[in-house]
Symmetry: C2
Subunit: 206 residues, 2 copies
DNA sequence: ATATTTATCGAACGTTCGTTCGAACTCCTG
DNA sequence: CAGGAGTTCGAACGAACGTTCGATAAATAT
């Protein structure tokens, strides 16, 4: 890892802190300069615009969590266990990198065109995997529920924690993953749900 | 309703559109001026700062949904039904006022000091009611789960919809409330969950 | 030690920001 | 129709914005 890359990732870390606290639009380049201990002009040696900086943060965060997920899923075949792996992976990374994940979640719509499209593609792939896990579970247990609503509800449960999680009160990722996994999996485990429209589309429009 | 109040609420509506689209920090007073068809200076006849404008939007949205909830809960006594009333009320208002609710959810932390404290107090009361419904259910059915985690997970499921809801795909509030109610209530209905720490605190620190 | 690349900086650019102010317009009341 | 209150506006304020540029300092290579 070159000196350049190392310094860049330090800047990314500090920028993440600032975006977390003030939001992307609310954070100024001068804020970032102050936080990273580098001059305003100096920052532009490492990236060409504020927008690109957000892109770099989001891409790194998203590709990392996706990578870890893929590795972990390799070892597990049972459908419910695979969903629990998904939940645990998501929450573990979320809590260990709360600021990055808030910047990823909260600044979801600010990147436009090229950068935005690239991040959106990673996101689509991440969600697609989760929907597939739902489909596996439905097939294995002959369940009937909307994979789309279920998946997006699950993401809601998990992603919302950035608004309320307090380490001292809410325990670690394992506990939380177990609690949320219990609620979600038991909630979804019954033929009764969503009987009305079993052909409900499962592809996602995001 | 005075002419002043009427014009103000028109401005609030247009401002909500702009905040929804660009975020509070990303929206300029000139954007708001353009959207509401009034001159930049003219806006300041109706409110004294951009911050106050966000406060007015958030307060109106939050007090309205809270008011409706109280009215609806008066008619229902059975614990599970009361939670379903909460979910339906929340989702109905959320979908009918998507932009306002996004501004309320997404710009949660931007108001500081006086204004922020007032909104936070309404929020605390709203969440407190939901936690109490959980406690009622637990008592009535002798269940054992963390009211805090359950409540906040439920809020996550519901509030996250502003990131994915498409009317044509996801149906109306009733359907969604039934689906999410099924998942959540079935998920929470079992003595097995969270057995490990039955004394887990139920008061919320937000 | 010198030359060359890599890294950092102060100062400034033009633009946009939230807000103010006094003048003007509109409207209701006497 | 005169007059005062209620409403709207153009123009401007100083401050802060994202970005650029040429000079300088530090690190590396010769």
């Amino acid at each position: 890892m070159s000196r350049f890359d190392q310094r860049l990732s330090e800047i990314l870390t500090h920028a993440t802190d600032v975006f977390d606290e003030k939001g992307y639009a609310g954070a100024s380049m001068r804020d970032l300069s102050r936080a990273s201990g580098m001059s305003l002009a100096g920052l532009y040696y490492y990236f060409e615009s504020k927008e690109k900086l957000l892109y770099l943060i989001q891409r790194h965060t998203f590709t990392t969590i996706l990578e870890r997920l893929r590795t972990r899923l390799e070892d597990v075949t049972e459908p419910e266990a695979r969903i629990r792996v998904f939940i645990l992976n998501h929450l573990e990374y979320f809590l260990a990198n709360q600021k990055s994940m808030k910047v990823l979640s909260h600044e979801d719509e600010v990147l436009k065109n090229g950068y935005g499209a690239e991040i959106a593609a990673i996101k689509r792939e991440y969600v697609r995997i989760c929907v597939e896990l739902m489909e596996e579970l439905k097939r294995a247990r002959d369940l009937d529920f909307s994979s789309r609503t279920a998946t997006l509800s699950l993401f809601g449960m998990m992603n919302w924690i950035y608004t309320w999680y307090k380490p001292r009160v809410d325990g670690n990722a394992e506990e939380l993953a177990r609690e949320m996994g219990d609620i979600f999996l038991r909630g979804v485990s019954s033929g009764k749900a969503s009987k009305k429209d079993p052909e409900k589309r499962t592809d996602l429009i995001l």
